[in-house]
């Protein structure tokens, strides 16, 4: 018998716990030439704002040890174009569509959240509170507890779909931030976003990017992401989506074992367009090998007694 891979994030039922991470899978279309999007638990769309956004000047990416920096700067086509040009295509697939969104200030957050909440075909919203590349007075929303509280409360008030809040790792106590998100009524949290980071070209003595800093993603940050996910899972009752450096099924399972209900795969799509599908297959195979019938039986099954036995 095939094990059940179904998980629930708020009222959202996913056929399996594997999503694509925002910004790494474009508007879905780009990867439909490689994989059958119907196989995915869900697609988290590139960060969307009310108006189209130009993003940062090039160069925008740079490779780092087992990771990459990006300074895309949230370039996107804006709400209207998304709904008109991208959503109809996405709706042809039997998978959940989660729209990652942001604004330049809280009013814009509320406005786009409100619109997305009323948009047919959008299954859930992911609120990006990090925006490491953006400079506004609301820039600290992701790191200052009281700003976060206010932002989530007001966004929640206008959203009657599943609302996921995506956390930045750039805080001392991420579990505390997650609790605020939970208190203010979000349905789920996702984590982690990228780390602010920098690479200097020693010849030109300037940043290798068009901006000074970028966001670090990829396998390099995975151990930090697993730890953060574990801490958040212990602190909140709402579902958690684990993100950060997932390349194969065993990486994904680490996040599930520490308590994540689902995972999102980012940078790995770039190095292997089949990554998500291979991860889903790998998880299924693992469950079969371990004799587990339901994915939910492995979620949060971490053995917290110190592992003092070697081999």
């Amino acid at each position: 018998m095939k094990p059940s891979l179904k998980v629930k994030i708020g009222s959202l039922e996913l056929k399996n716990p594997v999503l694509t991470a925002s910004g790494t899978f474009g508007y879905g279309l780009e990867y439909s030439q490689f994989i059958d999007l119907n196989l995915l638990g869900g697609i988290i769309i590139k960060g969307l704002s009310l108006k189209p956004k130009k993003g940062n000047p090039p160069p925008r990416i740079y490779e780092t040890p087992c990771g990459m920096l990006n300074s895309i700067g949230l370039q996107n086509i804006g709400y209207e174009a998304f709904v008109k040009e991208k959503l109809p295509f996405l709706r042809k697939f039997n998978t959940k569509i989660v729209v990652n969104f942001f604004g330049e200030n809280l009013d814009e957050y509320i406005e786009i959240a409100n619109k997305l909440s009323k948009t047919d075909g959008v299954d859930a919203l992911e609120m990006n509170i990090s925006c490491p590349n953006k400079e506004t007075k609301w820039r600290k929303m992701g790191t200052e507890p009281e700003l976060l509280r206010k932002a989530v409360k007001e966004v929640r008030a206008v959203v009657n779909k599943t609302l996921i809040v995506k956390l930045t790792p750039q805080v001392t106590d991420i579990a505390y931030m997650a609790k605020i998100v939970e208190d203010e009524g979000a349905d789920a949290v996702s984590l982690i976003n990228t780390f602010p980071a920098m690479v200097v070209d020693i010849k030109t003595r300037s940043s290798v990017l068009g901006t000074l800093t970028g966001g670090l993603s990829g396998p390099a940050i995975r151990p930090i992401a697993v730890r953060a996910t574990w801490e958040v899972c212990k602190a909140v009752k709402i579902p958690v989506i684990g993100i950060g450096g997932i390349v194969d099924y065993s990486d994904a399972l680490q996040f599930l074992i520490v308590g994540a209900k689902a995972v999102a795969v980012g940078t790995a799509n770039f190095i292997n367009p089949y990554a998500t599908v291979e991860i889903i297959e790998g998880i299924e195979r693992f469950l079969i090998e371990e004799g587990i019938n339901n994915i939910n039986d492995i979620i949060g099954s971490i053995n917290e007694k110190a592992n003092n036995a070697y081999n």
Binding site: G23, T24, F25, G26, E30, Y31, Q33, F34, K46, K54, G55, P57, P58, P59, R60, I61, Y62, E63, P65, C66, G67, M68, N70, I72, Q75, G218, P219, V247, T267, N269, F270, I271, N272, P273, Y274
Partner: protein, 246 residues
């Protein structure tokens, strides 16, 4: 249609101290056009993490050739790979050079020849090729190009072979007034010089930018154009020169 697959190295041959020709075999035929590129990635390890883009140098059924220069870590590792080793392959990616109707001009600087060789070969006896290098021993596939091209002009910096100077000078001397479309690939300096010469003539250039996804999803490879930011991987790598802000 782009494919992602494991390819097998058939040959990986040093043509000079830092330029190699790699031949890979795919499990199936692909159909690609001159100016398109592929992304090659060494498997099994996470450093280097990303694949590296290379122009399709030549293509026959399931066999694809790339001509590459060692620039950094990724190309160094690539150069050390051996026959029968596997390498992951995404391609063919990007736009191609719009097909010329009659004769056409080609301007290639250094390793830029990799991007236009297949074009020259595909339309035999129609290309008037300008090929500039620093030193004589950096001229690759001279005999082949001579065979496929209608005419070929070479420049070397010190005049060891052909014209002494940079290729754009030679191009200006010989071809300034020929009313033919131009296809160009080479270092930024050459493209900038070319821009001064060709003004508003039809000139297609293949440009380079760091890439992550190669399929238009990450928005990492954008460049500035007169029509706003464009993705090199899907809006290019071939652009009209007049569109580019250099």
């Amino acid at each position: 249609m782009n494919k992602f697959t494991l390819s097998t190295i058939v040959e990986n041959k040093a043509l000079s101290s830092d330029v190699y020709l790699i031949t890979v075999k795919l499990p199936f035929r692909i159909d690609a056009k001159p100016g398109q590129f592929c992304i090659l990635r060494v498997n099994g390890r996470l450093d280097p993490l990303l694949g590296r883009p290379f122009s399709i140098f030549d293509l026959e059924g399931e066999t694809v050739k790339f001509l590459y220069r060692i620039k950094g870590k990724g190309t160094k590792i690539l150069s050390e790979m051996k026959e029968n080793e596997k390498i992951s392959f995404i391609g063919p990616l990007g736009k191609w050079y719009p097909y010329p109707e009659g004769n056409f001009l080609v301007v290639a600087g250094g390793i830029g020849i990799a991007s236009v060789y297949y074009l020259i070969k595909k339309f035999p006896e129609r290309a008037i090729v300008f090929y500039g290098v620093r030193l004589k021993n950096e001229i690759f596939f001279f005999e082949e190009i001579k065979k496929f091209a209608k005419e070929i002009y070479v420049s070397t910096e010190e005049g060891e072979f052909g014209y002494k100077g940079v290729i754009t000078e030679l191009f200006q001397n010989k071809a300034k007034n020929l009313d033919l479309p131009i296809y160009a690939c080479g270092p930024m300096l050459m493209i900038k010089e070319l821009k001064k010469i060709v003004n508003d003539r039809k000139c297609y250039v293949a440009v380079e930018e760091r890439m992550a996804c190669g399929v238009g999803a990450c928005l990492g490879c954008v460049i500035n154009t007169v029509n706003g930011l464009k993705r090199v991987c899907t809006d290019g790598a071939v652009f009209e020169l007049r569109e580019l802000i250099l």
